[in-house]
């Protein structure tokens, strides 16, 4: 159990934001045998933890928890726990990975394998929060939860029809293995992003090329920038950047062909943070239809 958790953590990318001197995207957290022991301690502390938050409904605890939240969680989950694009909106009462207080304690303590959610104390900031502080944090999260409306805002089935049909989303985006490759795979978007952020991305695709702090939802910071080049033999290629460095660029064009290019051999190279995705205004996609698509993405993301 411990080994498998640690294995998954070792493979996950997690940015170290705090530095006496360092931080950054794409750096692997150092995880030693020692941190396995730490994890073991954390797991055992969960075993002994109460099932219910001993600080439940204590407004003072919730206030202290808010500060813990700002310091430890807000980087990904947003200042008010509304989600930062990278981490899910925690004001939703219905959560994907944790329902009870004890489960939430477990998630905060141990992280979620295979996601960017780190275990407490493993983000390069030392030993992390105490049990009490985690319970304060949970008290805060409970205090800001908003019950979902009894009925979803939109019609998921109709949203799915639009996604794969008239709205043309699937020409570039994949959901559950079906769709195009030019844009981000949206299978998990509904599980991690807020309704507002998805709507903003559809209405104003260039506003945030990819949502997230330091653009960490992307593998590389250049990903999804629009690139146009003219090769030595005069051929023009347009597409999205898959990756780029000072000397080379890797592009996917609109027919999903991958071009691997050395910049000094190009006649011209231009990049732009104007997304290749067309903005959908309310005349090309009504508010109601967009709500249906969001509901569809939420229904997939909740799986």
């Amino acid at each position: 159990m411990i080994l498998s958790v640690n294995f998954a953590l070792a493979g996950l990318r997690w940015p170290h934001f705090r530095f006496g001197g360092t931080a950054v995207r794409n750096s692997f957290s150092a995880r030693s045998f020692a941190s396995s022991l730490l994890l073991l301690c954390l797991v055992s502390s969960v075993t002994h933890a109460d099932d219910r938050n001993p600080l439940a409904n204590d407004p003072k605890a919730a206030k202290a928890g808010e500060y813990e939240f700002r310091i430890n969680c807000a980087l990904c989950h947003g200042l008010g726990a509304h989600g930062g694009g990278r981490g899910p909106d925690l004001t939703r009462a219905q959560k994907k990975h944790a329902h009870s207080d004890a489960e939430m304690f477990q998630v905060i303590s141990n992280g979620i394998a295979g996601t960017a959610m780190p275990a407490n104390g493993t983000n390069g900031q030392g030993v992390g929060m105490t049990d009490d502080e985690i319970w304060q944090l949970i008290a805060y999260i409970r205090s800001v939860e908003v019950k979902a409306p009894a009925n979803p805002l939109g019609d998921a089935a109709h949203g799915k029809e639009l996604f794969y049909g008239d709205a043309n989303c699937s020409l570039c985006h994949m959901v559950e293995g079906k769709g195009g490759r030019l844009g981000p795979d949206l299978t998990s978007a509904g599980g991690s992003r807020t309704r507002e952020s998805i709507i903003d991305s559809v209405r104003h695709p260039s506003h945030h090329l990819a949502w997230g702090l330091t653009e960490a939802t992307k593998e590389f910071p250049q990903e999804y920038e629009s690139i146009t080049v003219v090769t030595a033999d005069g051929k023009e290629i347009s597409g999205v950047a898959m990756n780029e460095d000072y000397f080379s660029v890797q592009i996917m064009d609109s027919s999903e062909r991958i071009h691997l290019l050395e910049k000094d051999k190009l006649r011209s190279f231009q990049k732009s943070r104007q997304s290749m995705m067309p903005p959908y205004d309310s005349s090309s996609l009504s508010d109601k239809d967009l709500e249906d698509i969001v509901t569809f993405l939420f229904s997939v993301g909740a799986k």
């Binding site: 070792a10 170290h16 705090r18 530095f19 006496g20 001197g21 360092t22 931080a23 950054v24 794409n26 750096s27 692997f28 957290s29 150092a30 995880r31 030693s32 045998f33 020692a34 941190s35 022991l37 730490l38 808010e66 500060y67 700002r70 310091i71 807000a74 980087l75 200042l79 930062g84 390069g124 900031q125 030392g126 030993v127 105490t130 506003h207 945030h208 090329l209 702090l213 330091t214 653009e215 910071p221 250049q222 780029e244 460095d245 000072y246 000397f247 943070r273």
Partner: protein, 576 residues
């Protein structure tokens, strides 16, 4: 005799498959011919004794001649310019210039530079160390307080030291280390559990190990120590944990602590009144990077970091001396000669721990620092008086200067509960990555970043050993990509003579060489050589891992190498 045994030991290791340098063999065979007849004439030894004596003499001569085992004296450190084939201190010299006088690799031939060897440390995380090279042996560190010695010519390991670290360490920013210091037959390492240790330079065996502070309260060492005379000088990390910072000096032979300078003055000491109430007790002001040394005045210049909590000024009203300062300390005693505080009452985590670089120009003895707060400062290093301060990156926090010419914070730059955008961001315009200064071009080369952050504040009680930021910060909402540069600054004017824009910001330091080149690495894994005069890139090599370290240069058997760490490996490059 000890030396002979070590040599013998090395020979045995070689029988196990480790390479012996060809030049060592030459030394051996040459000495065998020269020594044997003299020994043979002396008949008072029995044959066996003679044989043993012969071997020991032979090995002793080999020891003396074999450059890999020469002693590093303080005199050699003082005169490091006389042996440009070696890299004897973290910054390459006492002035902090990170400039190599080697010119075999130069503007004319750098395009043919090629990788000669790669050493994989097997460590995870960020490799921040600059190697030392002494007479053909390369010494470096990697994450989790690994230290190792390599044959600098082949990249083959000679020894490896791995510290057994406790599981509840509290480094703020990864299990990193930036390098070793060397004196005599020992190398010196500051550890993540706040010990200072001396290792035998020939074996990696621990010679002494002293505890400096309690790691469980957040104290740790990450920087490379500085050797001055018989002292191992180093500064503590832990500004994120409410430590009380200090600079320590240890006796190189015994490990005994000779002095400690607290960077936060205690009751009754000058500067104590710059702290509100008891805030000084957890005031931070760590000293986690390597200082420089001026032999003429026998003082060290040591830079200090942020006051704690880093992003919340409430509760610690005052200037918070000596946080974010440059300290001029008497090397022998640690007594304060002068100080200069770059950022008073810092609320943005702008540690002033960047390498202070000694520059001599027009008869003036200066010290320059490209500060994390976005300004390039030049001081008179005799008096500590400010000469100039010019922005070298995007800054919004200061529009005015005080009577001395020091940039002072705007009223509206403090973090708020709702968050306030300030430039530079918390990572700073630059950070720990060392700059270079080339007296030939007269330019100061530094890695720079344009990034703004939203600084928000959160009350946070101090708890021993727990992160103590009083804050959170976020990338600013405009979602613009951050910009990264290598900038060449004229220290005389603060003018930026050229800049090279990286694809994304980098954490690499810079090396300049007499070959007219500067070297740096990027976040995409490239190692790049540029024209020092123009900033034009001339050569690159894709190393397959982001760079968090700084390059250095050395030579073995007359051949120049450039080395740098990237990913979890150390790379060495030379002409074909």
């Amino acid at each position: 005799m000890t030396d002979s045994l070590v040599i013998l030991n090395d020979l045995l290791r070689d029988l196990r498959g480790h390479p012996l340098r060809p030049s060592w063999f030459k030394a051996f065979s040459r000495e065998a011919r020269a020594v044997f007849p003299k020994i043979a004439k002396k008949k008072q030894f029995a044959r066996v004794q003679l044989g043993l004596f012969f071997i020991s003499i032979l090995l002793h001569f080999a020891t003396m001649l074999c450059p890999a085992h020469a002693q590093v004296t303080f005199d050699r450190l003082l005169n490091s310019a006389k042996e440009p084939q070696n890299w004897l201190t973290y910054s390459g010299d006492y002035a902090g210039r990170r400039h190599s006088a080697l010119d075999q690799i130069n503007l004319a031939n750098v395009r043919t530079l090629t990788a000669k060897w790669v050493y994989q440390t097997g460590a995870e995380g960020k490799l921040e160390a600059t190697p030392l090279v002494v007479d053909g042996v390369l010494y470096a560190t990697a994450q989790d307080d690994r230290a190792f010695a390599l044959d600098a010519h082949s990249g083959r390991p000679i020894w490896l030291y791995q510290r057994q670290l406790p599981g509840d360490l509290r480094p703020c920013c990864g299990h990193v280390n930036r390098g070793l210091a060397i004196l005599g037959n020992k190398v010196f390492l500051g550890t993540l559990d706040a010990h200072v240790i001396a290792l035998d330079a020939k074996t990696g065996n621990v010679v002494w190990d002293v505890t400096s502070a309690d790691y469980q309260k957040g104290y740790s060492f990450t920087g490379a120590p500085l050797v001055v005379k018989n002292l191992i000088i180093t500064g503590i990390s832990g500004g994120e944990y409410g430590v009380r910072g200090f600079v320590d000096a240890y006796d190189a032979v015994t490990g005994e602590r000779k002095w400690r300078f607290y960077t936060v003055p205690g009751p009754g000491e000058p500067g104590h009144d710059t702290w509100e109430g008891d805030s000084w007790k957890v005031g931070g002001a760590p000293a986690w990077n390597t200082g420089t040394y001026d032999p003429e005045t026998d003082q060290i210049f040591w830079p200090t970091g942020n006051p704690a909590p880093s992003n919340r000024g409430e509760g610690r009203a005052g200037d918070n001396l000596y946080s974010n300062s440059l300290l001029a300390l008497k090397a022998a005693t640690g007594k304060l000669n002068w100080y200069f505080q770059f950022t008073k009452h810092d609320e943005h985590d702008w540690d002033a721990t960047q390498i202070p670089v000694m520059i001599d120009a027009n008869g003036k003895h200066l010290i320059a620092q490209a500060n994390r707060n976005g300004f390039f400062y030049v001081l008179d290093r005799t008096t500590g008086k400010l000469i100039s301060a010019n922005a070298y990156g995007k800054t919004t926090w200061s529009d005015t200067k005080d009577a001395e010419g020091r940039p002072i914070a705007n009223k509206n730059s403090s973090p708020t509960l709702q968050g306030r955008t300030v430039c530079p961001g918390a990572l700073g315009t630059t950070n720990y990555m060392p700059p270079a200064y080339d007296a030939q071009t007269g330019l100061f080369y530094v890695t720079a970043r344009d990034q703004c952050d939203i600084f928000s504040t959160a009350p946070q009680p101090y708890e021993a050993g727990h992160a103590y930021y009083g804050s959170a910060y976020f990338p600013s909402e405009d979602a613009k990509p951050y910009l990264g540069f290598l900038k060449a600054i004229d220290p005389a004017t603060g003018e930026i003579k050229w800049k090279f824009q990286h694809t994304t910001p980098t954490w690499s330091g810079v090396l300049s060489t007499a070959g007219g080149l500067v070297f740096t690495g990027d976040a995409e894994g490239n190692f790049i050589a540029l024209d020092a005069a123009s900033g034009k890139p001339l050569w690159h090599f894709q190393m397959g891992g982001a760079v968090y370290a700084a390059p250095m240069a050395f030579a073995v058997d007359g051949k120049e190498y450039i080395a740098i760490a990237a990913g979890s490996s150390v790379y060495a490059f030379a002409l074909p």
